[in-house]
């Protein structure tokens, strides 16, 4: 069969660092070809090369057998290559049609001719079952619909080959199903698709073949039907990956965090945490399970000193830390992996090195007598980079340039390295690939085994089930119940998370499986 696109031995260098080194990807006509790799493996770089945003330093690109030189995105467009970006490039307050024609507006005697375009948009939309209203404003339609507009945009411009960059990252499960249906429809109509992702399940369910890259190197291409998620994960990460992290039994000792009748309000003064009681002991991981918005954020902010407590007590060790300043609490032995790594965890415009010192910059050896000692900061950063496998071009690189997984590793390194008695990990694996998730889970368990206490906040049930020794379920600002993973099931947790208590479940009044973990608020 003929290849529509061949990327042969592509190389792309940034400085001395090879983002792509000898990667070969061959796309057959009418197939869905997945491009799999960890965060930072070089997937986006490769696609940017194909889309003309980067020029390769080696290798060649062929379209329908002919060697081509894609110098900019316009050339890619002319060759029929279209990209559906992960972060949509749409103007919020323009309509669907206006967005689609943006950049090549058809005019009639100098006047914009929207009508014909809208008609064409509607036709394409119908042909592929996209169901998009050409006159709807972008700000009024859902994220899933906006993505379809992106797809329409490429089709409108005559794309034969569509690149989907992490298309499911911000979609709900229903929207994902719809997207898969649309992809199949596109294939039926003779298009070819490259799907960039690190989600294994997705690959298994839609793709025909998979090309795996690892740390910038092409690992190979396999036929989806002949492989399985375990093998793909191994290829991607370069070693066996366990989906369920191994851990021994816990040996909890004394209580390190005690929360007593805590009440916390949000910025509008509405009570978000209501008389909450919680206890975390040394040597155990307590998983706080719950659906987003049930008071988790306010609880963490109260424990870490970022938000005032209305009433109740927070005791850490033997000290009352209620309403203390963040630094006092940190110095009392708290490590914190914040929920939002970009907002709270890192200063993106600071270097990796500066970020590594963010919690301890004011202490010796990083500073003394009001002066920074950047030599020590650098030394410390290099140690963290090595110990926590942060993949970066060096400590001087901006944190912004790191992939999500590596940013998270940097934060975890920084917090764990301070050797805290209590580590709060809020959604520590959100948006990360299996390799990074495994790494982070291992580190949390390692902390536990060293006699530290870990409070894990997560919206993902399997994460909570896998990692925790105790599971506390939060609903509407209070703990519904505390159970151990062995004595519960995902189904039961789901019911707790919906606010049902034990007696109701025993009665069996509600046996429905509850869906949790909608992640579209990222």
């Amino acid at each position: 069969m003929e290849y529509v696109i061949e990327m042969l031995n592509i190389k792309k260098k940034f400085g001395t660092f090879y983002a792509n080194n000898n990667i070969t990807l061959q796309l057959k006509k009418g197939e869905i070809h997945a491009l799999l790799g960890e965060n930072g493996a070089g997937k986006s770089t490769l696609m940017n090369v194909l889309f003309g945003l980067y020029q390769p330093d080696g290798g060649e690109i062929r379209v329908k057998g002919k060697k081509v030189d894609i110098t900019d995105p316009n050339v890619a467009n002319d060759l029929g290559i279209g990209m559906v970006h992960q972060h949509f490039m749409l103007v919020e307050n323009l309509t669907v049609t206006e967005n689609i024609i943006l950049g090549s507006e058809p005019t009639k005697m100098g006047m914009l001719n929207i009508k014909d375009s809208a008609k064409k948009v509607a036709e394409i939309s119908k042909l592929y079952g996209l169901d998009v209203d050409p006159y709807a404003k972008i700000e009024d339609i859902s994220v899933g619909m906006q993505q379809r507009v992106e797809i329409l945009k490429t089709l409108y411009r005559g794309a034969e080959i569509l690149i989907f960059d992490e298309p499911t990252a911000s979609l709900t499960p229903q929207e994902i199903d719809e997207l898969i249906r649309i992809m199949h429809k596109l294939i039926e109509e003779g298009k070819s698709i490259i799907l960039i992702t690190h989600k294994l399940q997705e690959i298994m369910s839609v793709s025909d073949r998979v090309t795996v890259i690892r740390k910038g190197e092409g690992i190979g291409t396999v036929i989806t039907a002949e492989t399985n998620p375990e093998e793909l994960a191994t290829l991607m990460v370069g070693r066996q990956v366990t989906f369920k992290t191994e851990k021994g039994p816990s040996h909890p000792t004394e209580e390190i965090l005690k929360i007593d009748n805590l009440v916390v309000t949000d910025y509008r003064g509405i009570e978000k945490v209501k008389n909450l009681n919680l206890s975390v002991r040394r040597g155990e991981i307590v998983g706080l399970a719950g659906i987003d918005g049930n008071g988790q954020s306010e609880l963490i902010e109260a424990i870490t000193g970022l938000r005032k407590v209305k009433s109740g007590k927070i005791i850490m060790g033997d000290k009352d830390v209620t309403n203390k300043k963040p630094r006092q609490i940190t110095e009392n032995g708290l490590g914190h992996i914040p929920q939002d790594r970009h907002k709270h965890g890192l200063i993106l415009d600071f270097s990796v090195g500066y970020n590594a010192a963010l919690q301890s910059y004011y202490q010796k050896p990083f500073s003394s007598n009001g002066l920074m000692n950047y030599k020590e900061v650098t030394k410390h950063a290099n140690k963290l980079i090595a110990d926590f496998d942060v993949r970066t071009q060096g400590e001087h690189e901006l944190a912004r340039a790191l992939s999500g997984g590596n940013q998270q590793k940097l934060i975890i390194g920084r917090e764990v390295d301070r050797n805290p008695d209590l580590l709060i990990a809020a959604l520590p694996t959100r948006g990360l690939d299996v390799g990074a998730i495994e790494f982070i889970h291992k580190r949390l368990i390692e902390q536990r085994d060293q006699g530290k206490a870990v409070l894990l906040i997560s919206f993902e049930l399997d994460e909570v089930m896998n990692v925790s020794d105790q599971i506390a379920v939060i609903y509407d600002g209070a703990i519904v119940d505390t159970v151990t993973p062995a004595e519960t099931s995902e189904q039961e947790l789901g019911l707790f998370m919906a606010g049902h208590n034990k007696s109701e479940i025993v009665e069996g009044s509600d046996g429905a499986v509850l869906k949790v973990g909608d992640d579209d608020h990222v």
Binding site: D69, T71, T304, L306, K325, P326, R327, T330, H336, P338, K343, H344, G345, L346, I347, L348, D349, F350, Y354, A357, L358, Q359, Y361, Y362, S367, G370, L371, M372
Partner: protein
């Protein structure tokens, strides 16, 4: 095209383009651009006197630029440099005039007074921003007017109804016979060394001090800074105070160096506002500010020679100077253009 080459070419091409368009403006208006530019050149570099005056003009621009740049680096927009400079000018003029002290105490004291006055003028918007979240742009603009008219009133009080303060004592003066003689009796004074020292101070605070690490953290990401245990409020106030102190010293240049007193003013000096452009031209780095201030100071001073030596009206001169600065500020476009040319060459 190598990056270094581009870095050299961009300002050069910018200035040449500015000169060309400025020449067109002069031609269209019926004046001789060649004569005009010769007059400009002579006004800046023509003789040692001109050079001395140019350097003298650059000093307050450096300090105003540092004030704006420092605030920018810490996430604040200090548009009140003008007012801070005016109160600094008055404070230095007053301390310089009213006390009789040995020079080794008097001059530093007068400089300190200027810095303190500017700092106070920065403190108020800083406090309002930190405690009540009042936007610093609004407050600093208003503080400019308060500074202007308050200082005018104070001058009348100090001058017992007159319009200018008495000359400062010699012991508070930045004037230098040596520098003056060196430059054919220009008004060049030691202020340039004060300004350059402050360039070092800004670099030192931002790049070497713990305070600088905190200020930059708060400037880039308040949330992460707070999470790391920094006091966002304290840092906002500190940033405005330091920025104001730089601006106040800018005023001291005029009080203790150039003029030796202060007269009531009908309007702003403009130096504080030009400081915004100076900072942006210099990409908010200490050394960049020196470059920006040099450009501004030279053109501003040199332009004075164009009406006399080439009979070009001052209005046209202002347009020409603005055009040159405009093109330098557009350096980004030229940079992109150069990179594209380089790319095409590579492709071939």
């Amino acid at each position: 095209m190598s990056n270094r080459l581009i870095n050299v070419l961009v300002p050069l091409i910018s200035i040449i383009l500015g000169l060309l368009v400025g020449a067109v403006v002069m031609l269209v208006s019926g004046y001789d651009p060649v004569a005009g530019y010769i007059a400009l050149w002579n006004g800046i570099f023509g003789d040692s006197y001109a050079i001395g005056e140019t350097i003298r003009q650059i000093s307050p621009y450096i300090l105003a630029g540092l004030a704006v740049a420092f605030a920018f680096r810490t996430g604040l927009f200090n548009i009140g440099v003008e007012g801070q400079l005016i109160v600094g000018w008055f404070a230095a003029a007053y301390v310089g005039m009213a006390f009789e002290l040995p020079k080794i105490i008097h001059l530093p004291l007068a400089l300190l007074a200027a810095a303190a006055a500017g700092a106070l003028w920065g403190l108020i918007p800083g406090l309002l921003k930190a405690t009540l979240k009042v936007h610093e742009v609004i407050v600093t603009i208003m503080m400019n007017y308060i500074a202007l008219h308050l200082v005018n009133a104070l001058i009348k009080v100090v001058a017992k109804g007159g319009f200018k303060t008495d000359k400062i004592q010699d012991t508070a003066s930045l004037r230098s016979d040596f520098l003056s003689e060196l430059t054919d009796f220009s008004t060049l004074h030691y202020g340039i060394f004060v300004a350059l020292f402050m360039v070092f101070i800004m670099w030192f605070i931002l790049e070497r001090m713990k305070l600088g690490y905190e200020l930059k953290s708060v400037g880039f990401n308040e949330n992460a800074a707070q999470y790391a245990g920094m006091s966002v409020k304290k840092n906002i106030v500190m940033a405005m105070v330091i920025s104001g102190a730089f601006a106040g010293l800018g005023g001291a240049m005029e009080a203790l160096g150039t003029f030796g007193n202060m007269s009531t003013r009908a309007g702003f000096t403009g130096i504080g506002f030009d400081g915004i452009a100076v900072a942006l031209l210099g990409a908010n780095t200490p050394l960049g500010v020196v470059f920006g201030a040099s450009l501004f100071g030279s053109l501003k001073y040199g332009a004075n020679n164009m009406p006399n030596a080439a009979n070009i009206p001052i209005e046209i001169v202002s347009i020409v100077i603005a055009l040159i600065i405009f093109f330098v500020a557009c350096g980004y476009i030229i940079r992109v253009g150069l990179q594209r040319i380089g790319k095409n060459k590579e492709a071939k």
